[in-house]
């Protein structure tokens, strides 16, 4: 099934990207995580009709993509794929809010279109920040950061376990789906009955595996607590990264940079 394979490739590719050794990747994950959150909050706090205020924020993803050697085309595709929900909620704005807000010469642009553009801009910014976080840091480091910042150990381990077994389980699911596909000749999609059997089978196998994993853990002395030994060292450049970017975000919210630039340029022209 194309969906399963492509999902696996997706995760695998993002993970491969996270193994690179660029200055971005070498930063402490806590700095990156916090900066990303500040970024998202800053972007999301912009007003409903704000477009020029949002535009300067593009500098963050752009710089990180460049420094982290991340593929912009790939990221752009992922953003596009994730867009439907925001798009379909946002598209109601132009339908509902038709009063003209901005007059550009003869053309009047309604508030709805402006807020819709704002939504889509927000979307691109926030989603790219999240993807860059994972591609530039890797899940292990992100989880480590979460744990060091206070997330419960069992939750963090849960994420890591889940991730570790995604490949194994999607592999099994893929085999089940293929086996069925080879035996169905009408080419129609799967019916409900077969589907529920398949899911049931997958679940039983999963539970068996869980049991075996537990036995393997017990055999190595597991008594309930999982130890993860990975030291993290916060260096001055990590702090500088966080403080620098956060300050910039605050400034960009305070001053509308495109307006400043535009006015300055217009002033020069006169």
């Amino acid at each position: 099934m194309g969906k399963i394979e492509s999902a696996l490739l997706n995760i695998g590719y993002l993970e491969t990207l996270s193994y690179q050794q660029t200055p971005l990747h070498r930063l402490d994950p806590r700095a990156k995580l916090l900066t990303t959150l500040v970024f998202i909050v800053a972007v999301v706090s912009c007003g409903k009709y704000d477009i020029t205020g949002l535009i300067p924020f593009i500098i963050y993803p752009v710089v990180l993509i460049a420094v982290g050697n991340l593929p912009p085309g790939y990221l752009a595709r992922k953003i596009l794929l994730a867009a439907p929900f925001a798009f379909f909620i946002g598209i109601f704005n132009p339908l509902l809010d038709r009063a003209v807000l901005v007059q550009l010469g003869p053309v009047g642009i309604s508030g709805g279109w402006v807020s819709f553009a704002s939504i889509m801009l927000r979307f691109v910014l926030t989603v790219s920040a999240a993807l860059i976080l994972i591609a530039g840091t890797g899940l292990n480091a992100v989880c480590l950061a979460l744990e060091k910042m206070g997330a419960p150990r069992s939750f963090v381990m849960q994420i890591l376990f889940l991730y570790r077994y995604i490949f194994v389980l999607t592999d099994e699911a893929l085999r089940l789906v293929r086996a069925r596909a080879l035996r169905s000749f009408q080419g129609r999609g799967m019916g409900f009955k077969v589907f529920s059997y398949m899911i049931g089978q997958l679940l039983l196998r999963t539970l068996d595996r869980a049991h075996r994993i537990h036995l393997a853990m017990l055999s190595r002395g597991f008594e309930g607590k999982i130890h993860l030994v990975r030291p993290l060292h916060l260096r001055s450049r990590d702090v500088a990264f966080f403080l620098g970017w956060s300050t910039l975000f605050v400034l960009m919210r305070w001053y509308n940079i495109p307006h400043l630039l535009g006015n300055a340029a217009a002033g020069l022209i006169r």
Partner: protein, 345 residues
């Protein structure tokens, strides 16, 4: 159904993030206290199972579209509410990070909608009440259906409230509700059927699994506490959001109430969405001042500088400035790219 960051405000996102973070910590503590940390390998693998299962689609006969599993209910039935909640939270986290399915700030909202409601409300209050300690095929079906449908309705309502109270969308409460709830009713039915089918399958193969998962009677007594806490929290948050919105957008709330009470008119145009839209536009036409005033009032609630007046000169400056900013960003990015790939690679 996953909320995106683009649609929420910091207030809504932040509040729910904090709330679900607290609930996650509480669930983890509960797991530790009940010595259920041995469940972690099973939880991890079941999380991966949900992932894998979500990728298998089946065709829904009449519609030609495909359906797939959500998973919250199955997890709750197999693991109990706390563990299931943690698993759903972890699944949603991975989806947000790797698939951009749901935003990072909106993660709190998503965990509430898709984790809290099925695990802490639908499961104990509906499924467990129906199925009880001695499950039968019929009760499993009924319990799963009722719990899934109601759980998803609550989740959908959550999405609606979160988006609407953030004020980014133009959709009114009533329209949004009308949009989301019926769709999720259908999804809920599908989820209920899948859950019932899978649970029956597993139960027939290994009946012990279901009895293992339901917690011992002693724990049942305690299980109401987080539920009540969660409900209270939700009520406070929802109440807070609604009242905040009401205070900054008095017109908006009034208008939606008008929309709700004007329901008889709504039943008229039965051409589906178009009919509704037409009706709404009609109403808008009667309130021209309202529309123009709206942007100003929005800004009163948010501290940002004012949108330029509708004078051509200033708009042009804005556009020019925006173009310059983008150009600048592009140059910086390009330059850095070359520097790092040639020099440091």
């Amino acid at each position: 159904m996953h909320m995106a960051d683009a649609l929420i405000s910091p207030a809504v996102g932040g509040t729910l993030w904090a709330a679900t973070a607290g609930l996650t910590a509480y669930s983890a503590k509960k797991l530790k206290k009940d010595l259920d940390e041995h469940k972690v390998p099973m939880m991890g693998v079941l999380g991966a199972f949900i992932f894998a299962a979500q990728m298998i689609n089946f065709t829904i006969p009449a519609t030609g579209s495909s359906g797939h599993l959500g998973g919250g209910m199955i997890l709750a039935i197999l693991l109990g509410p706390y563990a299931a909640f943690l698993v759903m939270a972890s699944v949603l986290t991975i989806q947000a990070l790797f698939f951009a399915d749901g935003g990072l700030l909106a993660l709190g909202c998503n965990i509430l909608n898709l984790g809290f409601f099925p695990c802490f409300i639908a499961y104990p209050l509906i499924y467990q009440k129906i199925v009880g300690a001695r499950p039968t095929q019929g009760r499993i079906l009924l319990g799963a259906m009722a719990a899934a449908i109601l759980g998803l309705q609550m989740g959908a309502l959550g999405v609606v409230l979160e988006t609407w109270s953030s004020g980014i969308t133009e959709l009114s409460l009533s329209t949004f509700v009308l949009l989301m709830l019926p769709i999720h009713l259908a999804i809920g039915i599908v989820e209920g059927l899948i859950t019932a089918a899978v649970v029956s399958f597993v139960w027939k193969a290994h009946p012990a699994i279901l009895t293992q998962a339901s917690h011992p009677p002693a724990a049942r007594v305690h299980s109401h506490k987080p539920l009540l806490l969660g409900l209270a929290l939700f009520a406070v948050v929802a109440g807070g959001m609604l009242s905040w919105f009401a205070s900054t957008h008095p017109d908006g709330l009034e208008w939606s109430i008008k929309g709700v009470t004007g329901k008889e008119e709504l039943a008229g145009p039965k051409e589906g969405v178009h009919g509704v839209m037409a009706w709404i536009q009609e109403r808008l036409a009667f309130l021209p001042d309202y529309d123009f005033k709206k942007p100003e009032e929005e800004k009163a609630g948010q501290k940002e500088e004012s949108w330029p007046e509708v004078s051509p000169g200033k708009s042009l400056a804005g556009i020019l400035g925006a173009a310059m900013t983008l150009l600048l960003a592009g140059i910086i990015g390009f330059g850095l790219r070359r520097y790092y790939s040639h020099g440091k690679g």
